[in-house]
């Protein structure tokens, strides 16, 4: 049996699954330390199902924690970007197309130094080590220890980025360096953006992974533990400590796959209302529609391949201001069961409005009885409008569409929404993310340069596909489930031998039971 866990900004959900059957589920508030929330929900789940910790063969965690941190501009470390590319690239500096408040939130500073490569691997300029050391001293002097390094054409030649990392490590004790070539692809700004976002999340990632680990230990669960990536495949805990940015869209992916699994709807819109944000995505034939263009995360353009999701700041824990009426994007998050009015707190949240309007019955109803009915009606109407607008934005035709509501915040929605042909609230919808995590797959990727003069293209592709499939098998996939999901070829212009970079990704279902 395996456990899927979703650590949201507000709730931590867990499901116990055997094959395609949901054996049991539990939900409890996310806690500040994260681990006690996980311990709490797992203890509840194991107690209620009567399953022994030793019967668990794998634990899969999905978390929106890192996405929320960026969306809310919270828990982000101060970050410096060192771009290696002068005299080129000065026309557009790092952070150029970022929302200004995010740059402020991470105290984003940037430095341009000489170096980088031409497309063919020639240096644009030699790396000036003294210049890099001076930059490192300035970064250290500013008290920053999270640094992203982006060199022009680092996917072609990684040497300068690696050298800059060494120089930074020598000057800045304990520095966490995120190298752009390890995270993104060709496209300097997008790759640099991803590296900078990764850098500002590394300290948070270390804390979160550590608390996950401790939570499982406390419960005596010794099964391997995985974390969901953007594409729905799993990565090891050690990996996520270095690359938290790769979890960015895993929440929406898990929730959409979970929603399709639970509702049986293959084509429609999924609205996942969490505690802090809502994510709206589109199911095409049971899978999330991929964004075919550059995706913005927290307002920042990246070039990951990710599900096409529109996120906005409405959730069960969203702060409500009365005059003028404003709902979100700030949220009480995991503290909802302490800070919401119905739970005895002092903060007026979206969930309090749902209770006052009679949409939900949680906590102490009398504590919202004093709210002006006209205000409650206006606020509830505003929430419906926010959700309707997001569905409208995502759907591609003017007609009504089927909508599947999932997530803990579905209580904010009444019986009907404009623009919706049928509203589904599947059983276990509140834990769709956790179910999506539990059905997650493992992936394997090959990213290598082939000389097509030496190896015919068909043979190179077959070889790359075979290697990717082998990697998926090594990750523990069932052989019959392995499929190639992505094939990409990037010609490396002007190199002798007709060189092409071939990237192949395969996925398969984790073999457990």
């Amino acid at each position: 049996m395996r456990i899927g866990i979703d650590v949201g900004g507000t709730n931590t959900d867990a499901v116990l699954m055997e094959g395609r059957t949901v054996v049991g589920w539990a939900k409890s508030p996310t806690t500040l330390d994260v681990s006690s929330g996980i311990t709490g929900v797992l203890a509840k789940l194991l107690f209620e199902t009567g399953v022994a910790p030793s019967a668990i063969t794998a634990v899969m965690l999905g978390t929106t924690h890192f996405t929320n941190a960026v969306v809310e501009r919270r828990s982000l470390s101060r970050t410096a970007v060192v771009r290696v590319g002068l005299p080129a690239t000065g026309a557009l500096r790092p952070f150029v197309d970022w929302p200004k408040d995010l740059v402020e939130a991470i105290g984003g500073v940037s430095y341009l130094v000489h170096g980088g490569y031409e497309f063919d691997g020639r240096p644009i300029a030699a790396l000036d080590e003294a210049e890099v050391r001076e930059v490192a001293r300035q970064i250290h002097g500013a008290g920053i220890d999270c640094v992203a390094v982006s060199a022009v054409f680092s996917p072609v030649n990684t040497d300068q980025e690696i050298k800059v990392a060494e120089l930074l490590a020598a000057e800045i004790p304990g520095v966490r360096v995120s190298l752009s070539h390890e995270i993104g692809r060709i496209g300097l700004l997008e790759r640099e953006n991803a590296a900078a976002m990764n850098a500002c999340l590394v300290h948070l990632a270390e804390r979160i992974v550590d608390s996950f680990r401790r939570a499982l230990q406390e419960l005596g669960i010794s099964a391997p533990f995985f974390i969901s990536q953007n594409d729905g495949t799993l990565m090891s805990a050690e990996f996520v400590e270095k690359y938290p940015v790769l979890t960015f869209a895993s929440g929406p992916t898990n929730s959409m796959r979970g929603a399709a699994f639970l509702s049986g709807v293959k084509d429609g819109v999924v609205v996942d209302i969490g505690g802090t944000t809502s994510d709206v995505g589109v199911l095409v034939n049971g899978f999330p529609r991929d964004a075919s263009v550059a995706v913005r995360v927290g307002g920042v353009r990246t070039n990951f391949r990710m599900p096409d999701v529109f996120s906005f700041g409405l959730g069960g824990g969203s702060h409500v201001q009365s005059d003028p009426l404003q709902i979100g994007p700030r949220s009480v998050g995991y503290e909802i069961t302490r800070r919401a009015l119905v739970f005895g707190g002092d903060d007026l949240t979206a969930s309090d409005l749902a209770v006052a309007a009679g949409l939900a019955d949680i906590g102490d109803r009398s504590r919202v009885a004093h709210l002006d009915p006209a205000f409650v009606a206006a606020a509830v109407a505003r929430m419906a409008e926010m959700i309707e607008a997001s569905i409208d934005r995502m759907k591609s035709a003017a007609g009504d569409v089927p909508v599947i509501l999932v997530g803990g915040g579905t209580l904010l929605v009444g019986d009907r929404l404009n623009g919706v042909s049928e509203l589904y609230r599947p059983e276990h919808a509140a834990v769709a993310n956790a179910i999506g995590a539990a059905i997650a797959q493992v992936g394997g990727e090959v990213d290598r340069v082939f000389s097509l003069d030496a190896t015919p293209r068909a043979q190179a592709l077959a070889q790359a596909k075979e290697e990717a499939a082998q990697r998926v098998l090594r990750e523990g996939a069932l052989p019959e489930s392995v499929e190639i999901v992505e094939v990409e070829e990037i010609p490396l212009a002007y190199l002798p031998g007709n060189a092409v970079r071939i990237r192949v990704k395969a996925v398969g279902a984790l073999a457990l039971e």
């Binding site: 000065g90 150029v96 644009i124 054409f153 097509l452 992505e486 070829e489």
Partner: protein, 364 residues
């Protein structure tokens, strides 16, 4: 009609230019950011119709040349365009009143806007292609005897070159090899032309056309009306295939990214296949082996739901696209035009047939 290009217009021009880019011309994103930054720093750019340009006033084209995949990676240093412009200005020894875009498709729609803002010079509402093409001589100006010479190039390191050649085809040969040595991108200034010459030779109104296309897509998305039908209406285009990308093959030949995309039909085209050959731009589209549209007419793949144009380098396995065919400017459909940019120039032994002569209705 005089008007100004501000930030909103640039966003629309960049999106429209990606449609006119027919898969190539370079991702307008970098050029858009540079133009927006220049306008924020120096103020809006004046756009004038060619009819308002005095016959004896001179203009030059400003552009980037090189490999699109390199442009998104090795971003310009920032001084290259002015450097190229100052070189051509001093070489010509006469005042230059206007800048213009040589190529309304792709990144070169916005590159001259950035310099126009910086130098506070007006831009003429025209270009030399009405789309994007891969080679320097492939401009309508060539058909009217306007020479690329003098041709100046500048890189981020401070190198520059002034070229003079016997014809525009030779310019392509020399400039390309210099661009490769400059790191596969360079800023250029070329095709100096008088107002009189522009009125005869240029493809008029294409900055406005790009803006109209971009605005149409933006507004159709917001109103949730059929983006692709609207796009066809403003470009006189038609959907020639609906399909899913099942294979993309790329190789680099003599400095150009050449390749082929294979699409498997969906919707009305289930059971059929389309292949699209590209050399930076989409060149020829064949349905079940038979030519459907070819250069110089425009072939653009757009994402089936959002109408977002897809570049050949961004094309990936699994994309669901509509292929749109659009008519090219009449200058290109003459024997002289076809000699420069017709299918035979690109190595396809087929006769050009205008897209509208193979009617396919726009998808409902």
């Amino acid at each position: 009609m005089r008007r100004t290009i501000g930030v909103r217009e640039i966003e629309d021009i960049a999106l429209g230019a990606a449609v006119l880019g027919t898969g190539g011309g370079g991702d307008p994103y970098i050029g858009r950011l540079m133009a927006v930054q220049a306008i924020e720093d120096f103020g809006p750019v004046e756009l004038v119709s060619v009819d308002e340009v005095d016959d004896d006033d001179w203009s030059v084209a400003i552009a980037m040349m090189g490999a699109p995949t390199v442009m998104v990676e090795k971003i310009p240093g920032g001084k290259e365009a002015e450097h190229a412009f100052r070189s051509i200005e001093s070489f010509l020894g006469r005042p230059i009143r206007y800048l213009y875009s040589i190529e309304a498709g792709g990144i070169n729609s916005t590159i001259p806007i950035a310099l126009a803002a910086q130098l506070r010079m007006p831009l003429i509402d025209l270009d030399g292609m009405g789309r994007a093409f891969p080679e320097i001589q492939m401009v309508t100006h060539t058909l009217f005897g306007i020479t690329a010479t003098p041709f100046t190039m500048a890189d981020e390191k401070g190198n520059s070159a002034v070229l003079s050649t016997v014809d525009n085809r030779w310019m392509e040969t020399f400039a390309r090899s210099i661009a490769v040595n400059m790191g596969a991108t360079a800023h250029i200034a070329a095709y100096a032309a008088s107002g009189r010459q522009q009125k005869e030779a240029a493809v008029r109104g294409t900055m406005t056309l790009a803006e109209t296309i971009g605005r149409t897509i933006r507004e159709a998305r917001a109103a949730h009306v059929d983006v692709i039908a609207r796009l066809c209406a403003v470009t006189q285009g038609q959907v020639i295939f609906q399909g899913k990308v099942v294979d993309v093959q790329r190789r680099t030949v003599a400095g150009f990214a050449r390749g082929e995309a294979i699409l498997e039909g969906i919707g009305a085209d289930v059971g059929s296949q389309m292949s699209i050959d590209f050399q930076n731009e989409n060149l020829i589209a064949r349905r079940n082996g038979k030519v459907k549209v070819s250069v110089p007419d425009l072939i653009t793949m757009v994402e089936e739901e959002t109408g977002e144009p897809i570049t050949t380098e961004g094309l990936r396995y699994g994309f669901r696209v509509n292929v749109i065919g659009m008519p090219s400017h009449p200058h290109w459909r003459t024997p002289a035009g076809l000699a420069v940019v017709g299918p035979r120039y690109f190595g396809y032994d087929v006769d050009f047939v205008p897209v509208e002569a193979r009617p396919v209705p726009c998808a409902p």
